[in-house]
Symmetry: C2
Subunit: 220 residues, 2 copies
DNA sequence: TGGAATAATAAGGTCAGCCATAAGATAATT
DNA sequence: AATTATCTTATGGCTGACCTTATTATTCCA
């Protein structure tokens, strides 16, 4: 590492911790899920989890899953804060496409010193949510996840408002964006196909068919 | 590397190329200077230079020095562009201290996708110089270094205007900043101590004594 | 021209973070 | 209780970018 600022935690460490808090706050995560999310083999994820455990950032109970320690959760919140602040900046000021915010902000987050994070937050007017609707942890580390439910749990006939989109992959975000499934939209469940088939929705006056696994990314 | 965007060149590669263009544009650099600048041993620098040569980014003639190839210069300009644009943003919008711009921008530069770079440039109003007075390469790669001379070459009695400061170390920048040796200032050489002793300057009505090696960082 | 300084190469080592393959342990399902 | 799926551990390997120590080559200058 030749750059001037040496972060206390490596990019990998930050990514693992952030993935954990994204996958399930304050709960246990299967190492397999983590591996999937980070596109590494489960052997690699196990290795890394061991290292994180040794550093006191996570606690791994074999065959039961991993969870963040207090320290780990703090770091994860901090990473998430940086990421979502950058998303706000990229969206509101640079006009970056909604679906590419995550990928761009993700690189920047690991290169951001605390001084810069706080100055950025002030510049942005201390926003509380990112453009995807997800809450931004506060500077003191306090963070309460959105309490909503996923679109696939809404009953036929019901109407709900999109609070946030929890997807991170650009193609998934683009797909949802194209169908107007973005924060603030009103959605009515028109039909649910049998056998866990896709949902038919009414969004912004249009009918949209959405697979259940995609509906899981939409928080209402 | 687990982050989403994979840069075509590693952070190290970018740092070496940037260091080369900073040390001497279009000229040959001794590998030793490069090692010094990057705080690595000369053995490591030699290794890295070999790798860069194999990739066609530099051309190394043993015992003569290294120089950037066309390709290498393009990458170096691009890195420098990103860096200086971030410096503008950090200074003008986030209010980051003048002397810490380099260190903070340096981390960000390696995490910045081309789309973000160009959007940032537009946001900033396509600035041509960074807060330290150094020119920002254009998007098409064109870049002409400042043509000025260093303060230590100015004769006693002469007056000059500071164009830029080429230092990168935070403590050096702070030292110069404290003495008002920043772009735009008028400087008069009052006295040059014999035997390559320090210069006495008049800056903003104050008398300032400055060692020759520090004066080399000031472009007028 | 001979020595000092500088540059380059060789050899071997470290570390993080990934990989594959294979074997063993536990959990879940039937 | 057995099978299957998932987890975990073991072993060995790789790469990039650094390190030290030691040797050899070249350049420069007096």
């Amino acid at each position: 590492m030749i750059a001037q600022i040496v972060q206390p935690f490596s990019e990998s460490t930050e990514m693992y911790l952030k993935a954990m808090i994204e996958l399930s706050d304050r709960e246990t995560v299967a190492v397999g899920r983590l591996a999937e999310r980070l596109s590494v083999t489960s052997v690699s994820a196990n290795e890394m989890v061991r290292r994180l455990d040794e550093q006191g950032l996570v606690s791994h109970i074999p065959y039961k899953g991993v969870s963040l320690t207090e320290k780990g959760r703090e770091v994860a919140c901090d990473v998430m804060r940086r990421q979502r602040l950058w998303e706000c900046f990229l969206y509101d000021h640079l006009g970056v496409e909604w679906e590419r915010l995550y990928e761009f902000a993700c690189s920047l987050e690991h290169a951001t010193a605390p001084e810069v994070t706080e100055a950025l937050s002030l510049f942005l007017g201390e926003p509380k949510v990112c453009p995807h609707g997800n809450p931004i942890p506060a500077a003191d580390g306090s963070f309460e996840p959105l309490n909503g439910r996923t679109l696939n749990t809404v009953a036929v006939g019901e109407t709900a408002y999109v609070l946030a989109v929890s997807a991170i992959a650009t193609d998934v975000l683009r797909y949802l964006h194209e169908r107007d499934l973005i924060p603030g939209r009103e959605v009515t469940i028109v039909e649910a196909a049998p056998l866990h088939g896709p949902l038919t929705l009414r969004v912004e006056g249009k009918e949209v068919v959405l697979g259940l696994s995609l509906a899981e990314f939409v928080i209402v």
